[in-house]
Amino acid sequence: MSETLLRIRDFTLAQAGAVKPAIAGFSLTLEPGGTLTLLGETGSGKGVVLRMLAQPIRRGLQVRGAIQVRDGAEQPIGRSMALDLRTAYLPGPHANVLNPDASVLSQLTLIVARKLRQPKTSARAELMVALERFPGAPTLEAFDHPPPLIAPEVLATGLLAAAVAQTPDLLLADDPLGELSPAHARSLVSALKAEQKRLGFALLYSAARAEAANLLGGNLIVLRSGSIVEEGPIARLATAQSHAYTQTLFRSVSAGERQSPDRSAARGEPLLRVQGVQLVTRGKLSARDKLNFELRRGASLALIGEIGSGRRALARALLGLDRVAGGRIVFDQVDIGVLNTAMMARLRRRVAFITGDDDALDPRMTIFDTVSEPLRAHLDMPRDLIAHNRDAALKRVGLAALPGGRTVASLSPFDRRRLQIARAIVSQPLLAVVDEPLRGLDAFAQSVVRDLLRNFRSNEGPALLVVTSDFGLARAFCEDGFVFNEGRVVERGSIATLLRAPQDPHTRKLLEAVAVSPPAAAPEPQKPPAGFTEPSPPAPAP
């Protein structure tokens, strides 16, 4: 049996007329059953390698290099190369690779049928068998909907099943875990590794974050701007990193673990007071389903849970975006339940949003307009003062070098995220809602955005409401947290307590997903921490 499944030598690819190539002098060797991760930021060239293997090279590209499969003859890389290799492509659920209007099941069945050259009925059976191997996987019928109607983690499972059903020699995984919650990512990696062991395929994995590399093991190639920075076994590079750039990528993994927020010194009156609010209205209700808590000025609270767990519903209710059945929410000493739309809008001026949703900013607007708008809309400021504040905010987030007339549509997700922070800075909010701010960003971008958020919090001092499925992020920014599951708060308390002694199985599952270690400091005092107080429940109504 051949020792090598795939060998690529000096692969270089450039757009015609481009200043620098997308990838230059890239080489790899992959054994049957081996795992190789390509790690790098956006634009590092990792995707180029996968696309070269997954589909014919487009016309108009300048390509060099050679490729060899097993003991076959080496052939030049180009449009006419013929690889005696069964490959399967595994994208992420957010990559929009499927038709958004057609049933996922029909698309996956067709793909498997075409790859295996079998009728669709046989392909469907293969898909079903592949799914049944994944613990807790849904049935085929769960996939008989268009992609937008299927939860990302379910879709990711379906895509994996379709890929392994093709019994490939080489699985090309294009960051399929990238935007999944840590718990689901771990679950998917376990399934992937089990299938790899069973079927013996080689795995070439493209990752923007080092967490994926840590989970997969095997070998690692670190790429930057189209060139190899470093390569070797993960076990060596994760602990004894030699290159400064690799250290940056791996440092961002543990950044969330090591840095906990400083308890804010400023503690004012309660900014947000919740009394008897109930999110769940159906099924067996208990007294525990009624929420009572306060969030003081400058404090922080994490709402932790998977998508659909109820964390966003609470965030929306707290901001008055959705009505809740019963209870009372008081924001800045005003009961929002009695406000009309216009009054509510005035109240919301003191709220900022920073979200991982790339549609949060108007794509038509320019950079300058995006940052200036809150100042023009809410404050009666002269133009030069608006410009001064705007420029200062852009400088703080590192966007000052970009032309102010550039539209949001032309910005990368990383730039848009920073622009959101700049807009939040000028708003001088009392409350900042931070919703999965690191989603879809590569390792370097994540570390920058984390630092900017810390800087924003320490300078502007808003209260923070963090909505996330990542305990690491919650730990990095929040003192206290609620853990959600199926619309209910299953556990609550200080983050330190949740990390040290999680009571609920769901909390433990979320913690295991990110493998966040509890703090080694002295036990937290038992009295309720400042900034997060739980007042006695209101007296029952007569």
Binding site: T42, G43, L319, L321, A345, R346, L347, R348, R349, R350, V351, A352, F353, T355, D357, D359, A360, L361, D362, P363, R364, M365, E373, P374, R376, A377, H378, R406, T407, A409, S410, L411, S412, D415, S427
Partner: protein, 276 residues
């Protein structure tokens, strides 16, 4: 596509659009100059009979020839172009204000009112602009033909603007903006700035082209300009009886009309309206 490639494509596309738009504006500018100097450029006032021998084909003396009544076709074309152009500008102003601006503003009105308005205007938009203009002229007289054309063209523009504004109002970025207290008036200003002001040349250019066509067709059908204020449509209608033999009294006004419409569309950078 990477963000750098996207920026490059955006810049190339906007440069090309700017060049096309500049050509269109230059053409419209030239027409405006001709219109302003029509009394100087034309060798005779509008409608002057026996300015030259009748039915003369184009030659050096009469570049566009003369018609059956001896009128200089070039002079008549210049005067008719002036009437058409000024009428189309008025109609365009009405269509843009009543159509584009009102469409965006209506979305910000209380929802039921906006939707009701959309429904009413939607009914008007289900009829051809031309026929609506005919009704308006029949009721109010030929003098209001440009106003009628403007009113008749505005429902279509209103409906498109309303639908676009509604999509924008329901977008994620609008929801986030409202969630941070950005007032409805600011969001309306944002839409007007980017969709109407930012796209003003596109909106106005397209409106100018469609109102010119509507006005010329109205006149051709006999519901537009009336003598002595002859426009290009009426000129072509008048030449229709004999144009199979005397082609020049119909051709040159037709070319002038086509050029006006073409330059208006070029000024709009050949924008085709609703984005996909």
């Amino acid at each position: 596509m990477s963000s750098e490639a996207l920026v490059e494509t955006e810049i190339r596309g906007s440069r090309l659009r700017a060049v096309i738009s500049a050509i269109g504006l230059a053409g419209l500018g030239l027409i405006a100059v001709i219109v302003a100097l029509s009394d100087v450029i034309a060798r005779a006032p509008a409608g002057t009979l026996r300015a030259g021998p009748p039915s003369l084909p184009p030659d050096i003396a009469y570049a566009f020839g003369t018609d059956g009544l001896g009128r200089d076709v070039m002079s008549e074309t210049v005067h008719a172009l002036a009437v058409t152009f000024s009428g189309a500008l008025l109609a365009t102003g009405i269509a843009v204000v009543l159509g584009a601006v009102a469409g965006f503003a209506a979305v910000r009105a209380p929802l039921k009112l906006g939707v009701a308005l959309r429904g009413i205007v939607g009914v008007l938009g289900s009829l051809p602009v031309l026929l609506l203009a005919v009704v308006a002229v029949s009721i109010a007289g030929h003098e209001i033909a440009p106003i009628a054309a403007g009113f008749a063209a505005s429902p279509t523009i209103f409906n498109r603007s309303f639908d676009r504004a509604l999509r924008l109002a329901r977008s994620r970025h609008a929801e986030y903006a409202r969630a941070t207290g950005i007032p409805a008036l600011t969001l309306l200003r944002r839409d007007l700035a980017y969709e109407v002001r930012g796209n003003f040349l596109n909106v106005a250019g397209r409106a100018l082209a469609s109102t010119t066509i509507a006005l010329a067709t109205l006149s051709f059908l006999g519901f537009g300009a009336a003598p002595p204020h002859v426009d290009l449509g009426l000129m072509i209608a008048g030449a229709r009886a004999s144009y199979l033999d005397l082609w020049w009294p119909a051709l040159f006004p037709a070319l002038a009309l086509i050029l006006l419409i073409l330059f208006a569309r070029l000024a709009a950078a050949l924008d085709e309206g609703e984005p996909p």
